[in-house]
Amino acid sequence: MRALFLSLAATTILAGIAQAEPAIMPLDRATILAGSPFDFKIELDQVHAAADVAVTVNGQPYASVFGKPAEFVAEEKGKDGKVLGSALIARGLSIAKPGDYTVAVTAGTETKSVTWTVYGTPAVPTAKNVIFLLGDGLSVAHRTAARIMSKGMHDGKADGRLAMDDLDHMAFIGTSSTHSIATDSANTMSAYMTGHKSRVNALGVYADRTPSSLDDPKVETIAEALRRTTKKSVGIVSTAEIEDATPAAVVSHTRKRADKAEIVGMIYDVKPEVVLGGGSAYFLKSGIPGSKRKDDKDYISLFRDAGYTVATTATELKAADGSNSGKILGLFHTGNMDTKLDRSFLKTGTVDKFPDQPGLVDMTQTALDQLSKNPDGFFLMVEGASIDKMSHPMDWDRAVIETIEFDQAVGVAKDFARTHPDTLIVVAGDHTHGVSLIGTIDDDKPGTEMRDKVGVYDDAGYPNYTDADHDGYPDKIDVSRRLAIFSSNFPDYYETFRPKMDGPFEPAVKTETGDYVANEAYKDVPGAVLRVGNLPKSADTAVHAVDDVVLQATGPGSDEFKGYMEQSDVYRVLADAFALGAAQK
């Protein structure tokens, strides 16, 4: 106790003496593609006169290196009008010459310096096309479970291999964000798509201190870099709302991924040639039932006017695939698309309302058919979104079926690369979940409690899924001896030990105090037991893990993936493959 008191006192004293540091964005150790535009911002902790703020770059006055002076803001204000300090902002800078750049600021007693590395790329691209397949939340347990469920196993060896099992280069990816070891789908995908780490909920920006979510210092996205330096086509495919964090990261700049109406505008500004997914609610002008916009912007018409063929069902997508417009906007749901298990097998979720949704495999194939018409090549991002969306509520059967579907989309990409060997394929999660496959659940084991039926070690044996039609999916998900998958972290919920046959699992519901309590809809499922959560009561579902992501790749440039890499380093491999440091148009 005494030791604790002393250490607390020491901390307090240190905090009292410590000078608050100014923030410089991009942050220290940022890596910046040569020639790519970015915003530069210094946030000072106190109010200063403009003349008292000195900034140098490698010892030179900053304006001579950056080519222009920054705007001085005497007083930045917080949400409540509180003065936060002075700031310097310069938008759209770019640095052409690779090398290290040390930026130092002095203002009164405040000092800070950061060093950025500006990198070039080879002058000639090694890859004509890049297909970037992102399994949202894809963790090791998802892959193992998908392999066993889809391919089977006996005598300790898998009876088949996933498409992603044969990608020949790999790396462990560190996913942490700029303010936390933990992370979300916004900052993680943003790191892949910009080469800069960011803060939870942020896309294509460094998170600044001002309340607006749309004024934060921007960095260039891969789609913008491709527009600036090449004549390549861009495609975005997702089973989520297309303005959801992962697909949004290909084009967007906002501190807040929830700015979905604005993100649709950002997609429109970049105009990727192929846009396929859910989320039409934010494309419809307000007033139309189903719209989630608050303005009269009708993005369906705007895209049509820009030459896009619009498809809203799988049938229309097939027709559009045969058209020669070269530009397709496919929106197949007002919100997130239904999972493969709901869509193709159980007919649950919202499948009665949106019965003709295409799957990820068909969308990937259509995107490749369209984008490959461009002789200059393309960048295609494909997201298997609901691996994550079903892992949050711990609906492991849906998450694993989503992983199988995602893997089949990887198969489509590999087939394309077989005839187009100048294609780099990257397959990765954006972050992980705290999920593990630990054995089987066998209804025929003796015992009255469901936990007695969990088989571990030698007792687990092998599950009894079948795949008579060889579609890669089990004929039946609720078999008598099935995979036992559990989460390391959870809110209060009822564990049923069974697949959720009536629709996706909703483990906890919110009370008026902000706490989440177990959803009693599952209380009376035979064998259900209450698990008291190990997360704060404010957690609605299971959370992301900080564990590394496994990235795999094949094709030209893929040998740059190795060992441990920061998520932002992945962008540099893409930039090298496309030679984005050298203009090609």
Binding site: D184, I288, G290, K292, K294, V509, V517, D540
Partner: protein, 149 residues
């Protein structure tokens, strides 16, 4: 817990409901969540004939109360199933398509989200923006009251 005691507590918590004429509630036609829209498309939803027919009339709808936007909010959101996520609170969650916004005639106490409630109020359809919060709704119950089922 004996039923009588629960009932007394319930009435104490909901004075507005206790004073509501029982007949009026029972007479209002029932509308279910599955009857709100007649057609679904990515290009928009269409209201059901039943909603168009009952517009302006008193109706009953059963559902679950989502946690309020703020304690003093004049309305709450009624959902078909209990909300697992709170779109008001999380930057990542979003409301389902088929929600009904309920404007209460008198203030009533929040009901735990695991409990089904029945709301009676005057049905209103069409896009409308709440002037205080900017919340956009397509279906509303005005001058409403609710009770546990």
């Amino acid at each position: 817990m004996p039923f009588a005691l629960r009932r007394r507590q319930f009435l104490a918590a909901l004075p507005a409901l206790a004073s509501l004429p029982r007949m009026a509630r029972a007479e209002a036609p029932e509308l279910t969540f599955d009857q709100l829209y007649g057609g679904y498309s990515a290009l928009g939803l269409t209201f059901s004939d039943k909603v168009k027919l009952l517009d302006g009339q008193s109706v009953r709808i059963r559902g679950f109360m989502a946690p309020p936007l703020k304690a003093e909010a004049q309305f709450f959101v009624l959902t078909r199933v209990p909300m697992a996520l709170c779109p008001f609170c999380s930057t990542d969650a979003d409301w389902p398509d088929n929600i009904v916004v309920v404007y209460l005639e008198h203030r009533q106490t929040f009901v735990q989200p695991n409990r089904t409630i029945e709301v009676t109020g005057r049905l209103e359809h069409g896009s409308w923006v709440d002037p205080d919060t900017g919340f956009v709704s397509q279906l509303r119950l005005r001058d409403a009251s609710f009770g546990l089922v």
